[in-house]
């Protein structure tokens, strides 16, 4: 039941408890109780709005930045990157060298470069940086219960 509720919420988080209850053939109070419990347990982290930043002209450029770091400083580099509004996602990667991989957005190439040169390169422990500017998106999806259960 919980998974079905989550599946419906992922499709449209604005639908009412009554709508969800009708879909599942249960009372809206049941849906309410289960959703509240999942919120309290942190299973449902938040309800948000997915914005196409390109369409509103705020972010025209997305890049994947690989930051090679001194292992002693990598945690701090990742934390600093996570605080920047230009950075959408931050990951650590295990390879021969320790890498922090981040998804970065900027208005244009100059803004991207200025951000990396002024805010990333000077961070202690940053050894070098490789950045790939993304030119075309073939797929972008959030984790979905539906696709996970099908596979």
């Amino acid at each position: 039941m919980d998974l079905k509720i989550l599946e419906l919420l992922q499709a449209d988080a604005r639908q009412t408890y009554t709508d969800i209850g009708k879909h599942l053939g249960v009372a809206h109070s049941t849906v309410y109780d289960r959703i509240k419990r999942m919120e309290q347990q942190g299973i449902i982290k938040k309800y948000t709005t997915v914005i196409d930043a390109e369409k509103i002209g705020l972010r025209n450029l997305t890049a994947i930045m690989t930051v090679y770091t001194d292992p002693k400083e990598s945690e701090r580099v990742a934390e600093k990157l996570s605080q920047a509004s230009e950075v959408l996602e931050v990951y650590a990667s295990l390879s021969e060298e320790l890498q922090i991989i981040a998804k970065v957005v900027a208005e244009d190439q100059n803004s991207l470069h200025a951000f990396i040169a002024n805010a990333v390169a000077p961070l202690p422990g940053v050894l070098r940086i490789r950045t790939s500017i993304l030119t075309r998106r073939f797929k972008e999806a959030q984790f979905s219960i539906v696709s996970d259960r099908k596979s």
Partner: protein
């Protein structure tokens, strides 16, 4: 110019004001310079693509003017853009320009360069 101004140009700047060498947008080489002397040394070491990238974007002159506050050197570096140099010829010219300036400032005012 007096000794105080020369000392300011030759000082070591904090990490966040250093010059960071990139070869293209977002691709940091790992080399940086916190003083004019260090900058001169890096010119000879970094990938020549980095020298080309920054010179024609006007990054060197901007750093020299805004951070080191050496307007004269910034002007000399800006002039190099007109010669359309590339590769080691550009590196050598830039090195010579910075080296001349460094020598002039250190010998004229009896400073060390750092």
């Amino acid at each position: 110019m007096d000794k105080e101004v020369a000392s300011k140009i030759l000082r070591t700047v904090p990490r966040e004001k250093a010059f960071y060498f990139f070869t293209s947008i977002g691709n940091y080489t790992g080399a940086s310079a916190s003083s004019l002397k260090e900058f001169m040394e890096r010119i000879n070491e970094v990938n020549v693509k980095s020298v080309e990238f920054h010179l024609y974007r006007g990054d060197f002159e901007k750093w020299m003017e805004e951070v080191l506050q050496d307007v004269e050197l910034a002007g000399e570096v800006r002039k190099l853009q007109k010669f359309n140099l590339a590769g080691d010829s550009l590196r050598n010219q830039l090195y010579a320009t910075v080296s001349r300036r460094l020598k002039r400032l250190t010998t004229q005012f009896g400073l060390t360069g750092i």
